[in-house]
Subunit: 343 residues, 2 copies
């Protein structure tokens, strides 16, 4: 089992793999690339190469773990966190730790090994986005889990170890630091102004227009003012909502359409760049005994959204050492270029 360890300096939790750890000698190899699997475990017909599926979309029916699915959700074969067991919160002198409890799932987006997510039909993307909603909702029944993170690594540079299109879901007993910081900012803004921080940003951007990539009646796609990376892109629902899992089907459908459109624009504009995306949604509000009042009111001033980061530049010492970033491409320039892409 892995461990959560707390860094008392940066006040950050780190997951340290204890079993199946990479040994020092593994890093010494000149070419540190794992051999390509000759058989893709995510392809149709190879269902026995993965752990038993959690759910799958089989429009024509068919047995569990059999071929013929459109979308398939499985536990990660090499999970960073394990579902079974107690958190075992404890101290080690000045340090804090707990067991590596959580869930780590893979959403195989299509049986087509060579597909690009952006090229999937809108109807298919709608089904994927509904599955995101359903998996988060299901995991939030477990009160040990504070946050469910939906993310995608596309391309080797972006950390994808398998090329077959897939999204990952990691649910953790901690609200991640990045999300906590955003919750705090949104809360502070709301207490001062009784308005949502993200709604305010969206309204200002819509008025200024120069960082808007796309806007329709349900969603806004923009390059954030202080983009860390070239072509960093956010997708926000226009109607205020703190929790992705509360989105009705028509909102999920609108999200799927705009996600597909945005991924296609980035693919055309930047020649199929490696990218990551991460869904920022509300933490699991059922938890934190004794803090119900705080948590019950908290998520309403938050605004769910998706952040997409194309991986075009190398992150160097300056960024790791400071937590701030040098972005060589102004978001206005990126937005103008993305707007110019023919749909």
């Amino acid at each position: 089992m892995s461990e959560f360890r707390h860094d008392p300096v940066q006040k950050r939790w780190v997951i340290v793999a204890i079993e199946r750890a990479r040994r020092p000698m593994d890093f010494k190899k000149e070419n540190n690339v794992s051999p390509k699997p000759t058989v893709c475990p995510f392809c149709d017909g190879n269902e026995d190469k993965t752990p038993p599926e959690i759910i799958a979309l089989r429009p024509s029916g068919g047995a569990k773990d059999s071929p013929g699915w459109d979308i398939r959700v499985i536990p990660n074969k090499f999970p960073a966190l394990a579902v079974e067991g107690d958190l075992g919160r404890r101290g080690l002198g000045i340090f804090d730790m707990m067991n590596g409890i959580g869930a780590h799932e893979v959403i195989i987006e299509t049986p087509d090994h060579d597909a690009h997510m952006g090229d999937l039909p809108d109807e298919h993307l709608f089904e994927i986005c509904k599955i995101y909603r359903d998996r988060i909702s299901d995991l939030y029944k477990d009160s040990r889990l504070r946050y469910a993170l939906i993310f995608k690594n596309h391309g080797e540079t972006a950390g994808a170890s398998l090329a077959h299109p897939h999204t990952q879901l990691i649910a953790t007993p901690i609200t991640p630091r990045t999300i906590s910081a955003e919750l705090d900012s949104a809360r502070e803004h709301f207490l001062a102004k009784e308005r949502c921080l993200f709604c305010d940003i969206m309204n200002q951007e819509l008025a200024m227009q120069d960082r808007i990539v796309h806007a329709d009646e349900r969603f806004v796609v923009l390059e954030p003012y202080a983009s860390r990376f070239p072509f960093e892109t956010w997708i926000l629902p226009r109607v205020h909502s703190h929790d992705y899992t509360l989105s009705p089907d028509n909102i999920i459908r609108g999200f799927a359409e705009v996600l597909g459109d945005t991924l296609r624009r980035l693919k055309v504009a930047l020649n199929d760049p490696p990218f990551n995306f991460v869904l920022h949604t509300a933490p699991n509000v059922t938890v934190r005994p004794g803090k119900e009042n705080y948590w019950k009111t908290l998520p309403y001033d938050w605004h769910w959204h998706l952040e997409i980061i194309p991986r075009l530049t190398k992150v160097a010492g300056f960024e790791w050492g400071t937590g701030f970033y040098i972005n060589p491409t102004p978001p206005e320039v990126a937005a103008e270029y993305l707007r110019s892409i023919e749909e």
Copy 2:
């Protein structure tokens, strides 16, 4: 000139290049690698290929910008920040910005293009480490500059654009977020316990021993308990000190020796891995009018140190999206391996 832009969600400053920005089309190239310069501007004899030097070490004498130096400090030819001008702090609706004021220097560590910093003689490393001290002290005379960041990118994966051994220095009008967070943690710990957080960590690690790489009378080298990355390594002075620039020569000499020893261990252990290092030292305490009392007392509970990050794993969507990390190699395993390297 570049701009500092403030992200109101993450409360983070980003440097956005406005002129000489990378155009979208630059990212479209299949192989996004700049052509290797046929002439290295950092080599002896090519002094006319760089901006005029700031200082240089010339044991046998010689004119400014002439060959025959041991160490040479120059302004970066393509600086992220410019020294001349006003900060021009201003708002743009909900956003905050200021001009890209700061300094960006390069410390060419040796005329030998193919040298590895870890293989330089101790006496030479001592001179480099004294130059770090002198350059920070000099820049801190400028009260606009809040922090001077000494960092090194070694290897292309770590962001080095030129192979010739060099360190960079970026001085900014902001205390970087990573440093602020550490200053806050150290302050909070001191207010609660009247002890230094870093001294406490060091003492516990020395008692436990399993994450110690090296310890002598002046310095401790350790793998931090919640290491984000395999072989993340910290070097801390044993005697409490908040400010690298206040270190007397005997401490700088001890630091240079232990830095060389640590870089050699990592080079041998991991086959010359790409790495970054970043010096964490006190901010410029002369600034912040009206907040003198806070800043005058603040740095004394802080403890300067150097953080080294070998770049062995890819940082994927999970890390960018959450701010926490999965480390596949426990620091105890890394420390044991580094201890086993023959000096």
